[in-house]
């Protein structure tokens, strides 16, 4: 599959539309479709091998299951003859498809597998857009140190899985560097429904800062039960939960002041101008446009979250790489991706030689009066941090 | 040496003593019946002999081995076969397979492979006259046919002691007589089985048993040759009642 013969470039995706990752999967599909719309209709396609080609998106539902990933991926590659493939959501499923992509020498865009370990396996065609887990809390802790040098005690309470562990390991190292003291460091099983015993234990350590979470459901639960038990930290930061719009809806007042690191957020002000200032290449719709395209794509009044943004940004990376390589040959495109550095609504994009994302930095988001406000880094701020966080009622 | 020997066997359920210090013996080749009023502990005694329950006190010897704590499959290997009060053939297996299972795993077991066991089964099918049903699932048979299959299955185990719990309940007198003849025939001709049975049908008891043990309230009341036992006033009092006259009148 090397030529855009009939002017179409096919992107194949074994998406997760049902099963445990359905939510993230739906977002990713919407994000990809939104950017496709932009590339084909606003940008006018992709210039490759002397002609304009448009993007076509082909996706199946892998049900969030590893067996289906391999067969659907192979079908996309061999029967549908797609030119590029996207990985399903999560590190595990990304890994499940990797051997097939490698076998066929197919570019495999990882937009939802944050594990650093994927890139230690010697895969040649896996390219990451989501940032590695270890960097999530760097900013958060810097923020605390900057605002409140007296806050010392940090508690970590998080889901026992590969992703949350790598995030928390990063946080732990960062905390040590910045002179914090880790007073509590415990995990809970991934699909937990009651955290009370863990939180009673945490309460005893009387922390200033609580960092935790892992997924959306347990993040909600953690917040809720901290409130139930009357634990009042000065800062509460939850990964993969607090940044999503539904978080505030679900928790109402209890979300006030809760923070979370995010790859992207509705409200981040990356712009073409900003990119120019930094001397970076810019591509893609601006944020408002992206949100509008996303809503059109999913046919619902739904705000895109970072799952959508990541997947969309991965499409943009492909567009630039194809044009740069002026070829659809996976090896050429892979090389071009390796050299690529750009900015988009999603922020910076740049990978290292293993394919791992290193050019993207995160923002910290905080719920303030029912709105999500970007409070850190200062450069991206849309509002001042609320610190210490107001007590739970 | 007796084939089966029970010594001071007792079994309690909660506070109630179902079998109370019972001792008795069965000799090889003997036809013996256990009778007694309802709730006297006969079935419980049976289950103790057979290993479905373990006794709280006392000892049981079978074929010279102390089997008191043996699980029932080990007793079967020593040559103990039984039928159930309500027949329990393996419903989805054919008649032939049912009987072959007995041959495969019973006292004869260990030596027979599947093919040989099937052949043995065919012999017993002829014996009980169920040839027409050989390849039918046992679940589809009439109750009486099920009973026959169950007896054949127990016999195919080549038991030295055959235990039958109310095998003739629900049969009409003609069938009972046939069954009595059949079992006597097995004992005499095949020479394998000693039968101990629990029965309430006097026609069967009188026709088959040489000796009768009568139980009452868990304990042994009488253990004598059939005629004497059934004429014992205590037995008439607690068990036979008015039917004793009828029975004695007949023979």
């Amino acid at each position: 599959p090397c030529h855009a013969s009939d002017g179409e470039i096919l992107i194949g995706h074994p998406a997760c539309l049902s099963g445990s990752y359905a939510k993230a999967g739906e977002q990713a599909v919407g994000g990809i479709q939104a950017i496709l719309d932009w590339v084909n209709n606003t940008r006018g396609g992709i210039a490759v091998e002397g002609r304009k080609a448009s993007l076509v998106y082909k996706y199946y539902d892998c049900e969030s299951k590893k067996e289906s990933v391999t067969s659907l991926l192979e079908r996309l590659i061999t029967s549908d003859k797609v030119h590029f493939t996207f990985a399903p959501y999560s590190s595990g499923l990304t890994l499940a498809g990797a051997p097939i992509a490698e076998k066929y020498g197919m570019i495999y865009m990882d937009h939802g597998g944050a594990s650093d370990k994927i890139f230690q396996q010697g895969f040649e065609y896996v390219v990451q857009t989501i940032g590695p887990g270890s960097l999530y809390h760097a900013g958060t802790l810097e923020m605390v140190k900057a605002i409140d040098p007296s806050a010392k005690k940090v508690a970590l309470a998080y889901a026992d899985d590969e992703f949350a562990r790598s995030v928390m390991k990063g946080a732990e190292e960062r905390a040590a560097e910045l002179g914090f003291e880790i007073v509590f460091n415990r995990t809970y099983p991934a699909k937990v429904t009651d955290l009370t015993p863990l939180l009673s234990d945490l309460k005893a350590s009387n922390p200033d800062v609580i960092i935790g979470g892992g997924h959306f459901e347990d993040g909600q639960l953690l917040n809720r039960q901290l409130a139930d038990l009357g634990i009042q930290p000065k800062l509460l930061s939850l990964i993969a939960a607090a940044t999503l719009p539904a978080f505030g809806e679900a928790l109402g007042d209890l979300a006030e002041g809760v923070m979370g690191p995010s790859h992207w957020e509705y409200g981040v002000t990356f712009s073409e101008k900003g990119a120019k200032k930094l001397g970076k290449m810019w591509i893609g719709p601006n944020q408002e446009e992206f949100v509008a395209l996303f809503k059109k794509a999913v046919g619902k009044d739904m705000i895109p979250d970072y799952h959508a943004a990541e997947a969309g940004a991965a499409v943009l990376a492909l567009v630039l790489a194809v044009e740069k390589a002026d070829s659809l040959d996976p090896d050429d495109v892979r090389e071009a991706l390796g050299d690529l550095e750009f900015m988009s609504f999603y922020g910076g994009w740049n990978i290292d030689e293993t394919g791992k994302q290193v050019g993207h930095s995160m923002v910290d988001v905080q719920w303030q009066k029912g709105q999500r406000v970007i409070v850190w880094p200062v450069a991206a701020q849309t509002g001042k941090p609320l610190y210490p966080k107001p007590d739970f009622k | 040496m007796p084939l089966l020997k029970c010594e001071h066997v007792s079994k309690r359920f909660g506070g109630m003593v179902a079998v109370d210090d019972v001792s008795f013996e069965i000799m090889s080749g003997e036809l013996m019946a256990i009778v007694g009023p309802n709730g006297a502990g006969k079935t419980t005694m049976f289950n103790l002999i057979n290993g479905v329950f373990l006794p709280d006190e006392g000892h049981i010897w079978f074929a010279g081995v102390d089997v008191t704590r043996f699980p029932s499959y080990k007793r079967a290997h020593l040559g103990m076969g039984r039928t159930f009060q309500i027949p329990r053939p393996f419903a989805s297996a054919t008649v032939q397979e049912n009987i072959a299972i007995g041959a495969m795993f019973g006292a004869a077991g260990g030596e027979l492979n599947v093919e040989e066991a099937m052949e043995v089964a065919d012999e017993y099918i002829d014996l009980i006259g169920l040839k027409a049903h050989r390849n039918k699932p046992a679940g589809g048979l009439t109750p009486i046919e099920k009973k026959l299959v169950e007896i054949a299955r127990a016999l195919a185990m080549k038991p030295r002691l055959l235990l039958m719990d109310e095998a003739m309940a629900g049969m009409n007198p003609k069938d009972i007589d046939q069954m009595v003849t059949f079992i006597r025939h097995i004992r005499d001709v095949e020479g394998i089985a000693v039968v101990a049975m629990v029965e309430h049908i006097m026609r069967a008891v009188a026709g088959l048993a040489e000796r009768v043990m009568v139980m009452h309230q868990g304990a042994k009341l009488v253990d004598e040759p059939t005629r004497e036992a059934l004429n014992d006033p205590r037995v008439i009092e607690v068990y036979l009642g008015r039917q004793a006259e009828e029975f004695n009148a007949k023979g």
Binding site: S18, G19, S20, A22, K23, E26, D160, R186, T187, Y188, P189, K191, V192, T193, D194, T196, P197, L198, S200, D201, A204, F216, E217, D218, Q220, L221, N223, R224, Q225, D228, L229, G230, A246, E249, A250, L251, G252, D253, L254, K300, M302, K393 | -
Partner: protein
């Protein structure tokens, strides 16, 4: 400190356990009467959770008042599912499909095609997507088969087959709810204040949830043991032939207990959200199904109030053991509490192979 935490966790475990127990009673009831293991149990809990959520968020109905609504919804669902899918497999008097030949299947396929065409025409008006029309057409085709050719099959279907049916019913509920509400995790916020015990804090909603569970358990116990209708249902459990000759309408008792079991399960979904009012999503039931299975076995499987008891034991074990396991060096105490409670399950089953409350038969 240690004891303060331990007692805090035990109190929390007790409260949680009572809700767990409530969430298991429906499972036990259905198993006890119909010998059906409801593998889709969690999906019904999910329906209850959504009932509470929707009533509270869009109508402002406090969850405690959602209980009768949930019971009603659950019983209706139970009736529909019983007559539609479960009865053909379990009912001794047989309402299964007598015998499916080519002709019947042909006609059913005709119904399918007709419905598809109708939906195609209607889809412009109703704004249904294609998948949903196929779904409805399949259901109608199936209903056609069951009701038109539903006959007098006497032999019982293999009991295992009901596993597939209940599993699929759960999947259908999950998928339908997903289509309507998306797979977003939701929550609501019903605040009644808290009770501070010193060593732990209990929101009144939790206490209310636990009290509600206890009330339901007691009512169920009384109903089963003291009323004529409850005795009738028990008699069906014991011996359906015997019940029949006593004049009990056995088929109806089956339907009723299935529907009551589902009703209780949906209701428990409401109580669970009072306990944990977040994370409400179409797939939330899976974890509860596993727990309910274990609790049901602890309590003796066929006994609904045994299930309640089992739930309390399980809650105490799960929460109480944390404090002990956290005192051990290394390891992750929370995951180990799960390990510990499952080990306890096995130990209990070794000592009492038929659960805590069930006598050996």
């Amino acid at each position: 400190m240690f004891f303060e935490q331990l007692s805090g966790n035990l109190v929390q475990g007790l409260i949680l356990g009572s809700v767990y127990g409530m969430a298991t009673m429906g499972l036990s009831l259905i198993f006890g009467v119909l010998q059906v293991v409801n593998v889709g149990h969690g999906a019904f809990i999910m329906v209850g959770a959504f009932t509470a959520l929707i009533l509270f968020q869009s109508l402002g109905v406090p969850p405690i008042l959602a209980i009768p609504v949930a019971l009603l919804i659950g019983m209706c669902l139970g009736m529909i599912f019983y007559y539609g899918a479960v009865k053909p497999l379990v009912s001794p008097s047989g309402a299964g499909i007598r015998k499916v030949g080519r002709r019947q299947l042909g006609k059913a396929a005709g119904v399918f095609v007709a419905v598809m065409i109708a939906m195609r025409i209607l889809s412009g008006v109703l704004d249904l997507n294609i998948a949903f029309s196929i779904f409805i057409a399949i259901i109608l085709m199936y209903a056609f088969l069951v009701y038109v050719y539903g006959g007098r099959r006497q032999e019982k279907g293999p009991e295992l087959a009901t596993l597939l049916v209940t599993f699929s019913l759960g999947v259908i509920l999950e998928e339908v709810v997903k289509q309507i509400f998306t797979s977003e995790a939701r929550g609501y916020n019903w605040d009644l204040g808290k009770l501070d015990l010193g060593f732990t804090v209990l929101p009144f909603t939790k206490i209310l949830a636990s009290g509600g569970s206890l009330t339901v358990a007691v009512l169920l116990y009384l109903w089963f043991n003291k009323t004529r209708a409850g005795m009738a249902m028990r008699s069906v459990v014991e011996d359906s032939v015997g019940a029949r000759v006593c004049g009990v309408n056995v088929d109806w008792q089956y339907a009723l207990s299935f529907s009551l079991g589902i009703g209780l399960t949906v209701t428990s979904g409401v109580l669970l959200t009072m306990f944990i009012p977040v994370g409400i999503n179409p797939y939330m039931g899976g974890g509860y199904t596993l727990k309910a299975f274990v609790i049901a076995v602890l309590g003796g499987l066929a006994s609904p109030y045994g299930a309640f008891f089992g739930g309390v034991v399980f809650g105490l074990l799960e929460n109480g053991s944390y404090t002990l396991l956290a005192a051990l060096p290394g390891g992750e105490p929370f995951a180990l509490t799960r390990f510990f409670s499952f080990v306890m399950l096995l130990v209990i089953l070794l000592i009492r192979p038929t659960g805590l409350l069930r006598r050996k038969g």
